[in-house]
């Protein structure tokens, strides 16, 4: 239990996926313009991350490992994730139309979110068990949510700020991200053992 808690806090705050591991920067910069879209995107990411962690773990353990095919991990994982995202989309559309409405547009974008493939590769690297992998995925998703929502608040304020010509658009966003990232450095000394 204690270990799981450590993984949860670790993946969420200490090594926040976006702000300290640089995974999922594209959606972080892309959909953080408004808090409402940020919420939708992060909901979809948490959802897919948890399921994909479970599925990729099983793929790795029962398909790749017994057949000595670990070198195919990258290909296998990305195909599993792409298929899974498509599957989740179809199922949601059919069974939970209201949830689909909220998350639908963000789902296809998740295949190329490096956070999803990244966390699959991390559980392999760290040799996590099934439960640990899923908890790790959930925590990574929460960390992503936290970063995205905090940052969208900052960005909403940037809209009205007076910014030098060359800095308009992406540069100032990156600098704002840098400042948000500094605040997360504060968690770096938080080690749970």
């Amino acid at each position: 239990m204690k270990e799981l808690f450590a993984i949860l806090i670790g993946a969420m705050l200490v090594e926040n996926f976006v702000l300290s591991k640089f995974l999922g920067i594209c959606p972080f910069l892309g959909v953080s313009k408004k808090t409402s879209t940020a919420l939708g995107m992060s909901g979809a990411v948490v959802f897919v991350l948890v399921i994909s962690q479970a599925v990729t773990w099983l793929t790795n353990e029962y398909l790749l490992k017994p057949n000595n095919l670990e070198y195919l991990q990258t290909i296998a994982f990305i195909l599993v994730i792409a298929a899974l995202v498509q599957f989740v989309e179809t199922v949601l559309k059919k069974l939970m139309p209201s949830l689909y409405k909220a998350l639908g547009v963000y789902l296809p974008l998740i295949t190329t979110n490096c956070a999803v493939l990244g966390s699959a590769l991390i559980f392999v690297e760290r040799d996590y068990g099934f439960v640990e992998s899923v908890v790790f995925g959930f925590a990574a998703g929460l960390g992503f949510t936290l970063a995205l929502i905090l940052f969208s608040g900052v960005r909403e304020r940037l809209e009205t700020a007076d910014i030098p010509e060359a800095f308009k658009g992406m540069p100032i966003t990156l600098i704002a991200a840098s400042l948000v990232s500094i605040t997360f450095m504060g968690f770096a000394s938080l080690i749970i053992s």
């Binding site: 892309g30 493939l117 100032i172 600098i175 500094i182």
Partner: protein, 228 residues
């Protein structure tokens, strides 16, 4: 896109006009994550260039055979194949850099630059032009992340390619090799690039919600009603 392109202009396009990192803002994850040292930037750039050239070549060859409906999974498989090759080559010949880059080598699969070029270029052009485009884009990416890496390494550790350069001029600010420094240096360099080229392009690679530019698989999927 319709007009005839000369080979030289295709090759140079990636270096300046459509520099993937500074202009199109594609592939941000590796550009920020691995650039704590100039050497890592160079290694990452070389790996990505290899995948880019290979996948551009194969995709331009198979573009007429693959049905439009399944092109995204097909392209992803091609790209993943080349990424696996690069992963194995790096592990065998450059174990040290491979260790430094860690999961960002397999993550080349989801690097938007590669997919964007497949969608925007290789799909529409012949093999020779596609390879040239791959080389140009790859070189542009490599140069850009090596510059970011150099700035961060010099300011943050006082070395360049592992050689001490600042000696006692100033105390290196560790912040630059930590994550916030990545965002900061990247932001400043993009601003500098914008200022120098002065060609303000609206949208700046943000036409699509994912923030990965127009060629991202996610966007094209979304645009086509997610058929893949």
């Amino acid at each position: 896109m319709a007009e005839k392109k000369t080979k030289v202009s295709v090759l140079l396009n990636g270096l300046l006009n459509e520099n993937p990192t500074f202009r199109l803002l594609l592939g941000m994850c590796p550009s920020l994550a691995v650039t704590t040292m100039a050497k890592n930037g160079l290694g990452m750039g070389a790996a990505a260039t290899f995948v880019l050239v290979g996948s551009n070549l194969v995709i331009s060859l198979i573009r007429k055979i693959v049905p439009d409906k399944v092109r995204i999974p097909a392209y992803i498989t091609v790209i993943a194949g080349f990424t696996t090759i690069v992963q194995m080559l790096m592990a065998a010949f450059l174990p040290e850099i491979n260790k430094q880059l860690g999961i960002f080598i397999p993550l080349i699969v989801v690097n938007c630059i590669i997919f964007a070029r497949a969608e925007m270029f290789a799909q529409k052009n012949g093999p020779l032009l596609s390879v040239l485009d791959g080389i140009g884009m790859g070189a542009g990416f490599t140069i850009a992340i090596t510059i970011i890496g150099s700035v961060r390494e010099i300011l943050g550790a006082g070395t360049w390619m592992g050689i001490p350069v600042t000696v006692n001029l100033f105390e290196p600010a560790v912040m630059f090799i930590l994550p916030p420094g990545g965002f900061l240096v990247m932001g400043l360099l993009v601003a500098l690039f914008n200022h120098l080229t002065k060609k303000k392009k609206e949208g700046n690679g943000l036409e699509c919600e994912s923030g990965c530019g127009v060629g991202c698989p996610g966007c094209s999927k979304a645009a086509n009603g997610g058929e893949a």
